[in-house]
Subunit: 70 residues, 2 copies
DNA sequence: ACTCTATGTTATATATTTTTTACATGATGT
DNA sequence: ACATCATGTAAAAAATATATAACATAGAGT
């Protein structure tokens, strides 16, 4: 359960995108709502490919969506 | 063996960083040289956390190191 | 020719992410 | 009160990433 040191603003981005739901986001990128929830909660860090797909939905770069607390 | 659609310039960055070796890079971020080799070759996409560590070694942002062929 | 060093590659094991299924709760609407 | 919807959460299975160990090759240096 190694909670990651990566934070993200997916929640905010969903809100700004017309209150897009976790399920909607998941459906758009072929991922379940549970996985979206876990990533938002920082339970584990997604695959780079998953991260790219998420960022693309919001038209953002990776670094705009995810930040690393080195 | 689902080869990923993510490309990277780790190889170039290693070269520019004084021909840093795969083993050196791996040691710096706690990863084996085999894993570095596989990532360079695009055999699979790294974890977002692994990607952050790699980018940090070269002082680059994620998007400068990894690009997505959407 | 020999010895290093860096890299490629493969097979197997371990760790981590993601899916699937299921149940729970709070908010909203009828 | 009831139904619906978004979210939280958890356990087990499936998929994927990473480690470890081993063997191979090509290049540089002696």
């Amino acid at each position: 359960m190694a909670s990651t040191r990566i934070v993200n603003n997916i929640r905010t981005l969903r809100f700004l995108a017309g209150e897009m739901t976790q399920a909607d986001l998941g459906a758009r990128i072929g991922m379940t709502r549970q996985t979206i929830a876990a990533i938002e909660a920082g339970k584990y860090s997604p695959t780079l490919e998953a991260a790219f797909r998420i960022a693309q939905v919001f038209g953002k770069t990776l670094d705009e969506v995810f930040q690393w607390e080195g």
